[in-house]
Symmetry: D2
Subunit: 385 residues, 4 copies
């Protein structure tokens, strides 16, 4: 595993829990964690149950006893590491978003395609696909329960930048993060929309906004635990992005990604409206989904809150009885289960790098549209379908 | 009262209940209902408790014993009737949206301005302002509880056009309705946003869409109870409108008005995010609002569901004890209370025709933006502030 | 109408709105309001739209031009007035609970039975039966959608006595009110349980409790608007009652009626669990009900929130389109519609006095059980079925 | 760990995750799992990450390299194993309920008291205390935010016995399970009520009921996955228990534990009403609690939904950022953290065996009351305080 921040902790839970809860088709060993600060990475490795730590990712990738490289660094290093790992014949699991630019993502896809010919797998870490309620929502749409998709409403709203004293972390600097709310949380709702509908976003019109334009420099710590130093610096990424997309099937999608939704902590919501029904999901109530069925008698229609905790639901049988809730990190466990499964069964892991690239193209199109007075910008999705 | 459709029923409740529940400063008599079909309007008048009916609105307006003209006809006749009534010295309450075009609305405002000099009042029927929770939400914002408004999210989602066999009623024809979801329900969220924030929408970028492009011709009935005839006709208004606005104070607003939100019956929702807190309202849960206060201790923050049914809340003291719910038509009662109040106390009624016009300008700007590949279009709001 | 307090206002809305919204089979005139204070009752009558007022109920009952007597006085005068009115050949609508004791209720039922032979009708005002969602819930159970009822959970929780300075109103004095939370709000959940299940409570085991035992004497005002005088007096009724009942069909019911549920304003909730499904209702969300259907596929089961606002739902067709909410007083309108209907169609109104008496028997049994260390006490329901 | 059923899986997650997520003061090794079926227990041990398995718990308890014994067997073996382990000087974590009878629990407490003098610890596994929202709710009550507790409403409702074909598992047989819904899920709400209020239940009046009296014999499998064999047997435990309790501080509590609440999967709910506020929790929404504060201005009061996912909340800082949800098994992790902590810091673990015994006394008093026509039965809590 390259990287050991917040995502390192989450991925470690995935690698630790998957073999003990699910029946994996092969054994998994938590071998090495790589980071630049030797002491800090050694401590993280020991805490999380990895055997070793290291500071040079290139030498780790070169080792014969390493089969899988899990990349959890900031987005600006994804391309270099992933390409090197794939070229070295390692299976790669890369945290989302795939890259900081379309060009990088294209190079990564090319590497993945080359590697694929040698049986080497590459997957992107959009773990919210693997919340059981989201996977089940996708299954229901695929079964046709909502009929033809006519409209989608997707939002990811948080509030962790409302405080103007929150310091200038790497996620607020374009050179490291690529973009702000758009790339970090907007990427999730783009991927989720494409995943659950089975369609792609073919064009967008959007607006991005930096609401607090200067912030205290970061002294120490990171993320939400960052401590301010003296002085201020410019925020070079967006705080909020509002955009409208059109799916390859024709439906309009309203997207909103923001870190200024005061009081909303992790409010990823999606609602898919079809001519026969609707499905809705809310990440703050992640063990359930809402299903409206127009085929029911008119006086009994309504949104049914399905607790997605039955043994019949995706992933759930390996966990607890009905009504016993799962949480955030379970998606990381399921990601490991599915990724490892593809190493044995010969199928392609999903989301693959092509899917990661398609998200990247949408992100780029939003930024381009925003720069062009919100004109509609094609993502090229039809061509790439 | 000119007109006797769905809005006629609702306005009649307002006129009937207001004097019996509230202490009005002057007496109200329900005099005449006017409609083109003599039998039908006579029946409606008798049923709803009006003394007379008539078929010629011009002669009614000319009567000396009529003080107030309440206009509940389709939008294409608002301008003509309202201007005539105002010029005849009658106080006018005109159902929303004010008109079918900016030009009409401007002419109406001019008439209202002339009339105002003679003490004649004009008001637009955006009754949702008078749901107690909405009025209280506005009051809280005015008191500064959310601080500076940084983002707004407003939507009005219904599903009554999802059925492709719903016939081609007047609301689906541009010449009568002006626009579709945009003008009918989008107008509500524009007005509500401007009302609760105390700001105006100064520019918009938007998209409008007709999802079902042909519908059965209307045989008999109207609205949701319409019965199809043979043959099909073109839907000439939008089914859905998605647009982004910028307020005069700088905040971005995401707007969505749609009749294709399967399962959503009357889901007007608005959320105002400020640097000190947030407020949210949902018309399907209209006796409450949600309040998030960033000034509370960090471990006790959360959205508080305030039941707006206390005697201290706007309008509520005249009704029932705490926890006894009000419904849709109460807004029409409150509208009468406030309108009649202004006839005595010398103040201006709100929303006045200038406010109605400002909504009209936003609607027109959305349509213009949609026609220009979603380019941002100014509403002229700054100039008119 | 005899009486003109809070219930007088609510009943007046019923009489005023019913003929104007529904198609009644005969005309209704709001004739006389009777009260002891001539000025106050005259003012109330004028405000609410009644033609006359009077101070002597006996002389009003004697009038030939009066057909219906609507009793909205405190419970201690129900029996005397209702019996006199019925014996005088007047149709009677009597506010709940029917009486302050079983003996009174039995005498009232006897009078109603005598009157019935002359075609004179008697009905008790449990208006919550006529919330559309409650009526529809009953219909669904009667259709068998939940199968055999196996358990019921019913509660009515308010908080208006949490404040120990709330003065000693008539509702807190046994000689006027009969009992406290038990008789006032407990009566509602007993009636609703019996109504929706179509069964009776045949035995109970219960506990009653007076939490605040002394309160300030009442100076002026009444109800929640009462103002304290100097000095304290004893509260002689219960503040809370918790009891378990057994239905004639065998199922256990947990009941709770309390005025010390801090923060709960009008939280009447009922849930009926059957072997095929469940139905739940909450008066604070009165336009909907929750339906769980065990016949659905296992992975799609869940509680469906049915908005009971469709034209197909009971009473709703006369009001507004789907998703337009009704409130507290609509039950009083529906009560008038149904009561007046029975005057023409020859059927018996419901709840009739026998049903009112059955509630009274349950209330008495709860008090007896509480006095006997919570021993189970039969209500006699089987015998009276 | 003795036992390897559903609770064995959950406890294993606790032991596996605690050291890797929290900073424990000493190392933890997952040594041996004990079960009667050698193959099955070996498989479980390997899967869950334990080093060894064994079939004879007595010999494992005798080993010097074992410091902690975690008991997850059915209730009928708790006493024997726990007493032997404590007498052998092992720290004991015993799954709830502590035992199948008061006598057993008393013997276990005696053993724990003896052991305590040698520094040996004993704890009962009421893990729901360690859901962060529950711990925080307790903290808020201890800080006085609700004032004096005046009423409590607690229920645990599931539906896994609604299906009459669910076979006769050990949990439905009195000799193994002690009692049914009462002991299994009723125990949780008794413990939680005592935990959050800091008071004890001093007397109860209750009713227990076996709704489905005969069930198919169990062929294979267990719990919800049991498969029926031919023939039927008697259910010898209760399906539902409804009881009222009185706390040592005087407040009444309504309790309901049932497995016949159709559609309710794991609906543990508790609401504590005080003279200054109220707090409510729902296990199906376990990352939040509801707080009503009567000290707020009258027009702003309401239930605040606090997402208990902030770094300031109990246990949460070691996990994820705000708004990232925890699930069912996190309570087991926190249990390990707290238990291991007491081995180092010299404090007593909670709930200790005295607390476990106090729950047992309440359970026994409910059964005695039910056998005595619901007469009130003291639990002896005052004497034991």
């Amino acid at each position: 595993m390259i990287g050991y921040g917040f995502m390192g902790a989450a991925h470690s839970v995935g690698w630790r829990q998957a073999p003990a809860v699910f029946d994996l088709p092969l054994g998994v060993e938590m071998a090495v964690v790589v980071g630049r600060n030797a002491d800090a990475v050694a401590q993280a490795a020991a805490h999380w149950g990895w055997t070793e730590s290291a500071t040079d990712w290139r030498s780790v990738i070169a080792r014969d006893d390493i089969d899988i490289v899990d990349i959890v660094t900031p987005g600006d290093s994804h391309a270099e590491i992933a390409i090197a790992a794939l070229d070295a014949g390692k299976h790669v699991l890369c945290e989302k978003p795939l890259a900081n630019s379309v060009a990088e993502a294209e190079a990564m896809l090319a590497a993945a395609t080359r590697a694929s010919e040698r049986g080497v797998k590459a997957m992107v870490g959009f773990t919210y696909r693997r919340v059981p309620a989201v996977t089940f929502l996708r299954d229901l749409i695929a079964q046709g329960v909502v009929g033809t998709v006519q409209q989608v409403r997707a939002a990811y709203r948080q509030d962790w930048l409302v405080d103007p004293q929150m310091p200038l972390a790497w996620r607020l600097q374009k050179e490291h993060a690529g973009s702000g709310a758009l790339g970090d949380i907007g990427a999730h709702i783009i991927d989720m929309t494409q995943f659950v509908t089975g369609q792609q976003v073919e064009a967008v019109s959007g607006t991005v906004e930096t609401i607090v334009k200067q912030r205290p420099l970061l002294g120490s710590g990171s993320g939400l635990a960052g401590v301010a130093a003296e002085g201020y610096g410019d925020v070079t990424v967006d705080d909020a992005a509002i955009f409208t997309g059109r799916l390859t099937g024709g439906a309009l999608v309203s997207f909103e990604a923001t870190r200024f939704a005061t009081g909303r902590k992790n409010a990823l919501t999606i609602e898919v409206s079809g001519d026969q029904g609707a499905l809705a999901f809310d990440l703050e109530d992640l063990n359930s989904l809402q299903f409206y069925d127009r085929r029911e008698p008119a006086d009994r229609q309504g949104f049914t809150k399905i607790l997605v905790t039955e043994a019949q639901h995706p992933y759930v049988g390996a966990w607890w009885p009905a009504g016993h809730m799962l949480g955030y990190e379970h998606g990381f466990v399921h990601q490991v289960v599915d990724f490892v499964g593809t190493l044995v069964d010969g199928t392609d892991p999903h989301p693959n790098f092509a899917e990661g690239l398609s998200v990247q193209r949408v992100l780029a199109a939003v930024e381009e549209s925003a720069a062009q007075n919100s004109a509609w910008v094609p993502t090229g999705a039809r061509a790439h379908e």
